[in-house]
Symmetry: T
Subunit: 142 residues, 12 copies
């Protein structure tokens, strides 16, 4: 296990709506608030955060991440299922990336069963709601 | 029927070329000029307009739209067939969205027969050229 | 735009049940009553009406329509997805045909995503309930 | 269980040939004769009978059936696998419909494995030859 | 070879439009006129004719044909590709059926490549325009 | 019809939960209790019963059944859709097997539409809940 | 209709076995003998003949045929379903080609339902055994 | 979050080989030893363990688990991708089940991309090797 | 070539019926008797034998085999086409496994064309009836 | 078992490269040399040999083989997966044909999993390298 | 051939990493340095350069390109396989576009075999590493 | 880069028709004449030429090429999409092979989108007409 100190949580499209819309699915905690909870639960890590609805900006930030953090928690949202390009970036960079989803993508529509990102990740955590992030980060704590 | 007063027409990739290229398909009226026609035909509505070639900016504007207008007329262009992410946004927001296409997507290439956006829209209007917008807005007039 | 004066609304199987069954989907107005509303909304048009549950009678009436009306509003119901033969008729006749559906067929079962009729129509209007007819006819009003 | 008194047996295309052709498959009893047997076996029920080779007439009769009988035994023959429209009718009407086939459709050609009717029926009975009708009606006897 | 004396030409949907519409495809001779030509070319045969746009009427006539003629020339038009029921009828009757199409169905849209009727026919003749009928009948002349 | 005297009801995985879980689907009668009802309804038959969650034990019991009973009522549960091996056993043994399901498998998920067992059965009865067993056994009563 | 005088019958793989093997399918007349029959039936035509089991030799002969004959009757045998290259040749040459098969390819294995050659032929004649050739040539007689 | 006290780790086929074979994939720690590590890391939980290569025994144990533990960590191994029956059991029982895999199944052969179990689980953890179990259990610690 | 001394013949579901049922396919020699023939033909080998209808017991025995024999002749019967789990076991163990089938699986139903086991075997022998075992063992004799 | 005396080994495309190229796959023995080994191992048989890269020449030689040998060992190389025509020839001739491959075609690319030849062969031997030939011939020795 | 003077090289996502990551695939020359080499090799052309990870910015630049250069060399990276929108832009603009890829996309994962861009390009050059650009530009030199 | 001195241009089926047929696609220059142009443009190379319509002769020549030239420019025409065998040869030989097509195969019929040859080539050049050869050879000039 690498000695991880800095982690980037990178969220894709519509994840800025967490806690605001479709609360029956995503709960009523905003991601901003949840981030504070995470930082308290994992005081040994510096947790950076970035969210964008733009596919290419996610690619930009992933490319920068290699110089900035030791690991990435990536929830690419709807781009998970369609973005060859983000998958190529995850493959190209050196730091470990963990894939996260709020819902269990294998339990939803057929088109969400495929992930272009999973093949290049350390591992994947699906379906625990916001808890997916906590569980994913726990991979790096020993 | 909701009392609609403000409508956003939201156009996706390449629709800024309307009236300039492939005129045999799209006619030779620019969308800017057509917008004036629409505003005259529907004086009871305020019609806002936004166009972007960037998928994520369409998502951004759809998210803002809930605070800005009562309804959206959305022509997502080529993203219609590939964007899980825009479909997720349309599903997440509260205001009615009507899907519009210049051409009849069911009459074109196989890959255009699927719409990730349609399942979350009030309804869809396809194939009438620029008239598709006029017909779609007429849904809100009673 | 053609100068349209006579329009045939041609309804396929089970549309005679509108307003009687599955009201949560189709509303509780019978098509007969709705037809009166349409005739009042579009006094400049003569609106003929024909409904049949028999595929071949829809073909018969479409063939006659060329001598009888200037345009057809066609809701082929369940035959939309299975009838090569009706599609061939729409292709063969000269007058404009507009496809209409009460529900958004792209948002329902996979087998309803395909239309044998759409490729030969002027355009398609889906998903606005009975309003789909009003919206479709508005195409011919200028 | 509903108290059933009147049952309509509704047969689709080519079932008028029973007992006349392909006897190695369908036996050599005509449906008319078999109907008498059924009426004797189930004296507590009034059993009506209708057969048509025309898809739309099957739809017509299904729609009428709600005012005429308490249950329908439906063998839609070849239309089982192709008729979205009959499936829509079965879904729309209120009385219970039991699907019946002489042969086991899951044991024949691939295109017979799908039924547009099954999803809207109480249940299905396949493969017992003419006995399928007797078995299906026995559902209503208690 | 059977001694053939009476032949039924059985035409399906839209074939009554031959010579009237889409002349660039089907030529400008009406089927009525062409029938006269055929009768002159084959004076040794009695040639009956029936056309219907209704699938079930084609089934009805095929069932009757066994008592009426020695062979059938069947152009089921658009029903060729969708009608399990007509295929079942052709399989069930005893007299030889020859499948005919004006256009080469293997050279058109994918959905026309399949024929539910072909497996039960003596043979098939595709793509020679109205000549397909002449060529098919020549099978019975020796 | 064979003179049937002994019947084996053979139930596959999870059918031991009947009446205990998912009662909205399967009712609240346990299979043990239902078995008593069946034995009373069919006093002329000896009805044996076996349930196992293990695929191979179902095969074992089917193989034994030829020396033990005259007919089998088989509900293979989830193995219906995946077990080539059970299908092979049904094909190999001599006594008649009737396939039964509580729910209508053609009305559920796509992967339940296929049955490896159906092609080798006398017939199939689907969708009547526990009544499916009663209906299936009625096939053997004359 | 072109004035046809010279016709090449071009046979593909295994057609040299006609009359020798699988006689229950192909009859017991050798193609050589049948050719004499054809020449007598059509004295107004010069009928050349070529058979090869080698795909490329069929292409060679098709290319030469433009300088040698006015029309080709082509039975490409098993290459029909796999040879993009022969299809390209038929498309490239100027003289009319009629496709012929002894058996009805649409009634056999799935992989025989597709023809790479049909789209570029005048028409197709399937399923009449050796008679398919006679019927095909009759297209050129008027 | 439920107050969890007893957890069952349920391992499917070949997971008894962990630490013995294919060590480059699964590491060289046996599951028995790893279990001790887990028990030390989570002293607040009683962790039961069961492994079987037999599909039906996994079903048996899942059914018992409802009376025995508060939650299940399930690694169904190869049965994940083929067992409708285990999926049905997970759906039928009341206690939360978390799906775990050593490898990232979305990054391996196509046939491992589908899980019949995922749709009925609380969530899924894939690809972290033996760490997947630790991460999954951390879901229950707060 | 390894020096092979002990071989395990491992037979899957329904292979205990060899010589008893469907003799037209499998011959009328029981596997027990055939085993004696094999032992006489290959006196230099110790040939062990195990048959089970239970998938997991086949896995158990394959896992044990590494400590017991030098090679396995595996006929997994119907599990060949459905068992990811047995395929995983063959991959995990060190000794050579040869796949055997009585019938030619590539010549039967589509669902038998795939083998989850083949990719991990030394080689495969299909279609020679019981002789397949003799042929497979001859691989180890030099 | 036929009394076999003469065997033809018939090799398809690229098998003349055995022992020269891709030795890690095919070994470094040339087929010529291996043939000598085979002839010594099976002195009771006359073993003829033919190799061609031309599909049609393989067909020619198979057709001749019926007059020349008692059995054929056929490795059609890459044509195995694409040649309907060679499959037709194997079906048409009377003598037994055994299919052989050096590699296990079920363990390679998807397009190699299908064999047009297998359905018409006595049996198939895959994956033992050059040994596949020895094993296949052993079928004929008793 | 058009007289070309100004060329835009337009690179899509992750191509800014060339020479920095996955050097075994893409070599260790940065695109910036390679651009200098190209400018020296083709002194007769002005070569502009633009790279973006954002799909919509590639569309923006393609739209501008018509007023700026005479030809485009486009490597759309991962968007090649998913972007209907970029394909629409290439179709809409007037200047020639040549598609380029470093790797041979037909030799990689299935999802890279399709290009939405190719159908609208002059031609495509794949698989020569950075040399693909040099080769593509050589098209314009005469 | 290898020091290339001798190059073989190897053309497959129908490429001997270049300049003679379908000139709107392939231009009106014969390949013989074009070859002279190429030889003048690349005086530093000896350019050999071979064309055949026979798949196996292309294989023969590819095998010989290793002793004859340093590189091959291969346009396999229609065999590109169907020939597993030619693909195997390209993989087996040592010298670099560049794939060339006159038209852009990704822009034509679906069945031309796949190339069995591409995975084993250095690179591919598609769609520039005869210029494709010039562009491909320029790869070897430095």
């Amino acid at each position: 296990m690498l000695r991880i100190m800095k982690i980037l949580i990178l969220n894709g499209p519509n994840l800025n709506l967490t806690g605001e819309r479709e609360k029956e699915i995503y709960g009523n905690v905003s991601f901003k608030d949840y981030l504070e909870t995470l930082r308290k639960l994992f005081p040994e890590f510096t947790i950076n955060y970035f969210q964008s609805n733009i596919e290419g900006e996610i690619i930009n930030r992933l490319q920068q991440a290699t110089n900035e953090v030791n690991a990435v928690i990536l929830n690419a949202g709807g781009y998970t299922h369609t973005s060859v390009a983000i998958g190529d970036t995850v493959k190209a960079i050196d730091i470990p990336v963990v894939e996260v989803h709020l819902s269990n993508i294998l339990a939803r529509e057929e088109f969400r069963h495929h992930s272009f990102i999973a093949p290049h990740c350390v591992g994947s955590v699906f379906g625990f709601g916001l808890d997916s992030y906590r569980i994913a980060i726990s991979y790096f704590r020993y």
